[in-house]
Amino acid sequence: MGEIGITHWVVLSAILFSLGLFCVLTRRNALGILMGIELILNSANVNYVAFARYADTGYDGQIFAIFVIMLAAAEAAIGLAIVLGVYQAFETIDVDATDRLRG
């Protein structure tokens, strides 16, 4: 348990990524899958910011993290709109039950 190095941050981010992946793999609820994706994006951001601090790259890592947050916001808006549309069409958001392209 010495000083915190880059390895600690990468392992932490790996834990978050694994939990997000588990969430995406095992859920049938579309909203749960979206939450898993948010966890995965956050783990990537932790990596970006950690390397921005521990490697000599200026602000590039943090700027990448801001772009990831921007795209996550866009993804969440579109994804949740699609979930609501699917719910109106199918009366459920179970991703196994939504297997028709035409209503």
């Binding site: 348990m1 010495g2 915190i4 190095g5 390895t7 600690h8 941050w9 990468v10 790996a14 834990i15 978050l16 990524f17 694994s18 939990l19 997000g20 992946l21 588990f22 969430c23 793999l25 095992t26 859920r27 049938r28 609820n29 909203l31 749960g32 979206l34 939450m35 948010e38 966890l39 956050n42 951001n45 932790v46 910011v49 921005a52 601090r53 521990y54 490697a55 000599d56 602000y59 590039d60 943090q62 700027i63 993290a65 801001i66 772009f67 947050i69 921007m70 795209l71 996550a72 866009a74 969440a76 808006a77 579109i78 949740l80 709109a81 699609i82 549309g85 719910y87 958001i93 196994d96």
Partner: protein, 166 residues
Amino acid sequence: MSPTTIVFYLLAAFTVASALGVALSNHIVYSAFALMGALLGVASLFVLLGADFLGVVQLLVYVGGILVLSLFAIMLTHRIADVHVSNRAVGRLPGAVLVLLVFAGMVRIATQAAWVVREPGAPAPTTSGIGNAFLGDWVLPFEIASIVLLVALIGAVVVSRKEVRG
């Protein structure tokens, strides 16, 4: 142990515990609130990494925006409790095995790679540097990202509105 180390382990434990709640909770509303804990934990980890501006952005966009949006979607789809966790295609056990394999590979890389690192200096305010970078080297990606956000906004409205025939 230095105070930074203790704070790191406390925040990391909080974040990982919340993420466990997101991944394992049986009820989607509990998952959403656990997600709030995980996002708050990540925001505080950003601050610990000296990224003060990013921590605030995380708080505003994720906790204030995306999470509220998710909760709205949960509340609007009221039969949400009918859908339970298990996925017939990938059950919990195969999922856990696969995820553990991926995790072991990532930990192996994290501990064995020869990262080129420097000693981090004292944390300094980052806001003005990020602003200058956005209007300097990164101005084109920045403008493209704003167009993407505009398109996503319009797209979300178009997709989620009720269709009126006639």
